[in-house]
């Protein structure tokens, strides 16, 4: 029988090592660093460094699996440790991109990680061979042990790591065929889970420093507005209040505890200069987007094939529809925040960030300090979903406040209300679609005009290639169906509400529109929506494969119980291919009982099947929440929602059963964290149509009177 102590010891294997040590110790790490990614201690513990962030997407484990696979180490002796941003700056960005965004940790880093593992293995073998004075090719490594074949002599990684670290890295190393994987490709448990379960894990919000003070912040409720004045005298002398700090578009109150800071801030008379957007509303914003559907000006073509007008003119039937998706908030469980100390030219930051390097750059710029003097201490994130990557506003504020009370650590924490009302929202989008069907019901012409903001130009301020924001037109511009005449147009319309990357970005909304409209076409053609799609997808496409695998697993051809209906959808996203089948029943009160959600994914290779499963399930929670309730609305230039009572999350009892179909076809590396969401909304809405005859052309479903059972 396993005792609890043994269990805890055992579950710590392949664990997460938290970087609570001072970064200064990093450079003189006592354990030999074989290369930037691999450190081996004399006791054979292998430290694998992880450069990006971990917010539940699991790549901290998957990335380490890829290194360990090539390293041939003993997984039970692996500790994962964050790469340090200060060392990153000093070592010429040795770890490359640190951003955990775009479902790209694995697909962008897999080669680097595998080569790091293989390179370290070769160095360890070479060091052992040197010690034995035998040719390195006669030696092999397995499970952290190096064996000299002819003599049978053995040594461990820990014994030769010191010598290995002195060797030059090999120039070129061969990588394993994924079919030979022993650690990668296996459902290894996530290294951070034991610490999450036991409460040992540290999120940004948990930062606790001696002598720390606390800051609450109020930002101009109307986006784009500025602070006019704050009458600090009114709250000075309140118990615990240390400082009132007016900033450009916000004001912070620093106090000896956070509650006192927040309560004092409530009493602070603040005047804002709203900047002209105070009359904007959801209605005026929608009208602005609607104009984008009708205007001929400022419209660009994102894709053009054949002759759309000819195709439509020659069609036996023409269908037209408008679809809408709203602004959405990220609503991370942990609100935005940042703990910082600015002292004697050095800046230390603890923050939940999707890009520690971006936080580092922001901290340096905000403090006016050289990059070399900044230390971003790595922590887990209490949710990211894109909010903590593209904009480092919380770091800018945190460091600015810390600078104003130099020498004292300060923890800035937003209230839930600030967080909900000062997000960089998933853009809203209004899309007009038109399709022409031939005599047999197949589409011969397809038109989409997307009227929506551009994240790339407003948040990242990057120039758009030929005026097209690829995220705004995602899954339209690259739709896979064989249709001879296609025109996809983009009308960039940027209201004053800031937009950003929300998990799955353009694929969180456009597949809902595209795949619902395909369903409309299938119904108009009198065809089964699965067979209709199969008929339009070239058989060589990955979409075809994953659609078939998912439909098969869902038993699409099988009869359903009375009152239960199905919907299906397929799309590409983040280099992976996903399909969904929803089975549901709707009662006379519009209560939707989702009986079953079957989600299929072809991600090419699979590094950790259990994590893919978890991401697909998590995607279902996230997307079902958004599609039933997610709706950020604007009145008087500001966001109306403020907290979970009016920005609702799905509850445990509402969560349907999710079945995941892994259909990896190999040969490519697709993303995992985001694509899972893409096919869910259309599959559910198509099933709703099958059940009720009502075509849902806008989200969320609560606005159509639907509730979840």
């Amino acid at each position: 029988m396993t005792t609890r102590r043994e269990f805890l010891k055992g579950s710590a294997a392949g664990g997460l090592a938290f970087g609570f040590h001072l970064p200064a110790a990093y450079a003189q790490n006592v354990a030999p660093e074989v290369n930037a990614w691999v450190v081996v201690r004399p006791d054979d513990t292998v430290i694998i460094r992880y450069a990006r962030s971990e917010m539940g997407q699991g790549s901290m484990t998957s990335a380490a699996q890829l290194v360990a696979e090539e390293l041939e180490c003993d997984w039970s002796k692996v500790r994962v440790e964050y790469a340090d941003t200060n060392a990153q700056v000093r070592r010429k960005r040795v770890w490359g991109d640190m951003a955990a965004v775009g479902s790209r940790t694995i697909r962008q880093s897999q080669e680097t990680l595998r080569k790091a593992g293989a390179g370290a293995r070769e160095m360890l073998i070479a060091a052992a061979a040197q010690g034995w004075d035998v040719p390195a090719p006669e030696c092999t490594a397995s499970n952290g042990v190096i064996t000299h074949g002819p003599s049978g002599r053995k040594t461990s990684f820990g014994k030769v790591a010191g010598e290995a670290a002195k060797l030059a890295p090999p120039k070129d190393v061969a990588l394993k065929d994924p079919k030979d994987w022993k650690i990668a490709g296996k459902p290894i448990k996530r290294v951070d889970i034991p610490d999450i379960v036991t409460g040992r894990i540290r999120y940004g919000i948990d930062a606790q420093l001696p002598g720390m003070v606390y800051a609450a912040i109020a930002q101009c409720p109307v986006f784009g507005g500025k602070l006019k004045s704050a009458d600090a005298a009114k709250i000075e002398g309140r118990r615990g209040v240390i400082k009132v700090l007016p900033m450009e578009d916000s004001v912070a109150v620093v106090a000896d505890n956070w509650w006192r800071a927040k309560e004092a801030l409530k009493e602070l008379p603040i005047e804002w200069n709203f900047g002209g957007n105070e009359s904007a509303s959801s209605e005026s914003i929608l009208q602005f987007l609607r104009d984008g559907l009708d205007d001929a000006s400022n419209v660009v073509v994102a894709r053009r094939e054949g002759e759309l007008e000819q195709g439509l003119a020659g069609a036996a039937k023409v269908l037209e529809a408008e679809y809408f998706t709203p602004y959405l908030a990220h609503a991370t469980l942990e609100p935005m925040g940042c703990t910082a100390v600015v002292k004697e030219g050095r800046v230390d930051v603890w923050t939940s960030t999707q890009n520690a390097e971006a936080s580092h750059a922001t901290a340096a710029a905000s403090a006016g300090a050289p990059l070399e003097n900044v230390y971003v201490h790595r922590v887990q994130l209490g949710g990211g979903f894109g909010r903590r990557g593209g904009s480092q506003d919380f770091v800018r504020q945190g460091v600015q406040i810390a600078k104003a009370i130099a020498g004292t650590p300060v923890k800035l924490l937003w209230t839930r209300e600030e967080d909900t009302q000062h997000d960089f929202y998933r853009p809203l989008s209004l899309v007009r679609m038109k399709a022409g069907l031939d005599q047999s019901g197949n589409p011969v012409a397809w038109y989409s005009r997307i009227s929506a903001p551009s994240i790339i130009s407003t948040l990242l301020k990057l120039p758009l290639k030929e005026g097209v924001d690829p995220q705004a037109v995602a899954s339209f511009a690259d739709q896979p169906y064989a249709i001879p005449n296609v025109r996809i147009e983009y009308a960039q319309r940027n209201p004053h509400v800031p937009v950003g990357f929300w998990r799955t970005v353009g694929h969180s909304q456009n597949p809902f529109m595209r795949e619902s409209f395909v369903d409309e076409l299938a119904r108009a053609a009198g065809k089964d929506p699965y067979e209709y799609r199969r008929g339009l997808l070239p058989a060589a496409t990955k979409e075809y494969g994953v659609l078939e695998a998912t439909a098969k697993a869902a038993g699409w051809a099988e009869p359903l119980p009375a009152g239960v209906h199905r919907g299906i959808a397929v799309t590409e996203g983040y280099g992976s291919y996903v399909a969904a089948v929803a089975e549901l029943a709707v009662n006379d009160k519009n209560v939707v009982d989702i009986k079953r959600l079957v989600l299929g994914i072809d991600s090419g290779h699979v590094v950790n099947p259990d994590n893919v499963l978890a991401q697909m399930q998590g995607s279902a929670v996230f997307m079902l929440t958004a599609m039933f309730w997610g709706d950020i609305t604007v009145k008087d230039g500001r966001v109306e929602q403020s907290n979970f009572h009016d920005y609702r999350m799905m509850r445990l009892r509402e969560m349907p059963k999710v079945e995941v179909v892994l259909a990896p076809s190999g040969g490519f590396w697709g993303g995992i964290g985001e694509p899972g969401q893409a096919a869910i909304a259309p599959a559910v809405c198509n099933a709703l149509f099958a059940a009720t005859g009502k075509r849902v052309r806008s989200l969320p479903l609560k606005n159509h009177g639907f509730e979840i059972a």
């Binding site: 710029a365 990557g389 929300w502």
Partner: protein, 140 residues
Amino acid sequence: MRRRSFLIALSGLAFGARAADPLLDPVTKGAPVTRGRVKLEMPLLADNGNSVSMRVSVESPMSEADHVRAIHLISERNPEARMASFHLGPRAGSAEITSRVRLAGSQRVVALAEMSDGSFWMDSANVVVTLSACVDELGG
């Protein structure tokens, strides 16, 4: 001009010799460019390309006989390659400019100084814009 050929051209610049360079030629009219005398300071990392600090200084007595006539900032990736031109004269006192520039992503930026004797000097800086975009594409 393609990014790669620009980089090759730039690496050529490091050794003082250079072939015709369409990116610099509109300014230099084909005159030779030497690395040196110019110091371009930009951060290795910038969180957002919208506003990146930049400081250029050129060694020059800034006298009537020997001064910096102009400092040009040239971008490898911006839609407008010639980001800025600062025109100076001896009365400027010193050839030093501090400003903020907008960068369309990670890239190398060149500061090109045009001297009163018609010679060209340069320095370059690599800036990584730490774009954290959940975009589909793997580029950048």
